[in-house]
Amino acid sequence: MSLPSNIKQNLMPSEISFMTENEYIQILPRYSMKSIQLIGTKIPNLRALRREKVPLWVALILKSQGKCNIVIPDWLNLIYLKARYDEEVKFPMKFSDLPFNWIDLSKILLSKAPDDLPDPVHQLRSIIQDLREIRQVKTRKGLKEVNESNIGLSGLSLLEINELRPFMLSVMNKLREIHESVRHDDYDDEEVIDVDDDED
């Protein structure tokens, strides 16, 4: 096969980071830099201390070279995340409102832009871990609702979904097989009855 089997129908964590890096983020340039015409986008002229939006991967390059600070999204701070955690506790049937890529985005920012964060890294890391765990517990409970035709996972981030994928696919495909074989039997029964009717 021209493609490794572990790439089929599953995402590697590095791919999820890659996609997150394509999202736009605000930066605060520390120096001026002329605009760059890229293939899919244009990096505007940068002027010191004038906020601009650029793809995260560009922001990370500029940041690593000391050319900018990253403007941390308004949900990545202790107060906000603590409030989401309390919500998770209070509403056991619902996931709190967090961005689709909150886990990987915070992971990237915690490691690549620690000095831009509003709160100490270790405290942020710990509240993020708490949030992840409480949501994992909920997901496991929710999986009891799995059936053979569909299941809703709204509110989960891509990374959380991807972690569930291998398990869910195998369970749901098994259920599907059972469901189909049962239906097939029903069908066969009906046929037999039809034949009997004809003979009568």
């Binding site: 493609l3 244009k42 390059i61 299941i151 749901m172």
Partner: protein, 235 residues
């Protein structure tokens, strides 16, 4: 800021305002790649997007080469600052990132052609409109040639050594066809993009309500129509 910069900024700002909100190239290419990756069957080749991306990659690569040359020639003049180098590095990264997405997209498609070779030979041979949109010219040629290779491998190592009545590759035996086809009932993970809720009828008069931004695991066959018009994406 220089005058031409101001003008250029003005141009893009006006351009952005007059157009309806458009997804950028990265987003559309990532979506197209992921859809292809997660769908059990091959999806129509995204010709316009791929033509656009491939030609832009070629142009940008040329520009990068030229800029390096320009840098080498002017190395002692003081024009070449560390910023200049950094800009080229950003350009190169951009090229690599997009090339990777295109590469993965094409590789996924080739692997489907290799898995369901006979099925796609039949499908693209049947109807002209399928042929025109399902595969690119390059893929169509690859498929035909690959079929030829496989056929002669089968012939030389097996089929010509066994009785003639067995030499067909597409017979159906005890209800099981020899031709492997994509399983459209496979479960896929979807995300809903359309603003208005999509209602999908299920068995036993049930229905499935897909609201915007919702994430579901469903049978591929149930949503493949919405996938093709971009109302849902696979994740």
């Amino acid at each position: 800021m220089e005058v031409d910069d101001i003008l250029r900024n003005f141009d893009t700002e006006v351009g952005q305002r007059s157009q309806k909100p458009k997804v950028d190239l990265y987003t559309s290419l990532s979506r197209v790649m992921l859809n292809e990756r997660m769908a059990p069957e091959i999806l129509p080749y995204q010709k316009d997007l791929l033509d656009e991306v491939l030609s832009r990659i070629t142009n940008q690569q040329q520009l990068l080469l030229d800029s390096h040359e320009y840098g080498d020639v002017n190395i002692d003049s003081g024009i070449i600052t560390s910023d200049y180098k950094l800009q080229l590095m950003i350009m190169e990264t951009d090229i690599e990132r997009l090339s990777y997405l295109v590469r993965l997209y094409l590789r996924v498609r080739l692997s489907k052609l290799e898995t369901f070779t006979i099925h796609y030979i039949r499908l693209t041979g049947e109807r002209d409109d399928t042929k025109a949109t399902l595969l690119s010219d390059e893929e169509q040629e690859y498929l035909t040639k690959y079929m030829g290779l496989l056929q002669s491998l089968y012939n030389n190592s097996i089929l010509k050594k066994i009785p003639r009545e067995l030499t067909y590759l597409d017979e159906v035996e005890s209800d099981i066809s020899m031709v492997t086809t994509p399983d459209v009932d496979e479960m896929v993970f979807i995300k809903v993009l359309r603003d208005e809720t999509i209602t999908i009828p299920l068995e036993d008069e049930d229905e499935l309500q897909l609201e915007k931004d919702a994430v579901f695991v469903v049978k591929y066959g149930l949503i493949s129509g919405y996938l093709n018009i971009g109302d849902v994406i696979l994740i």
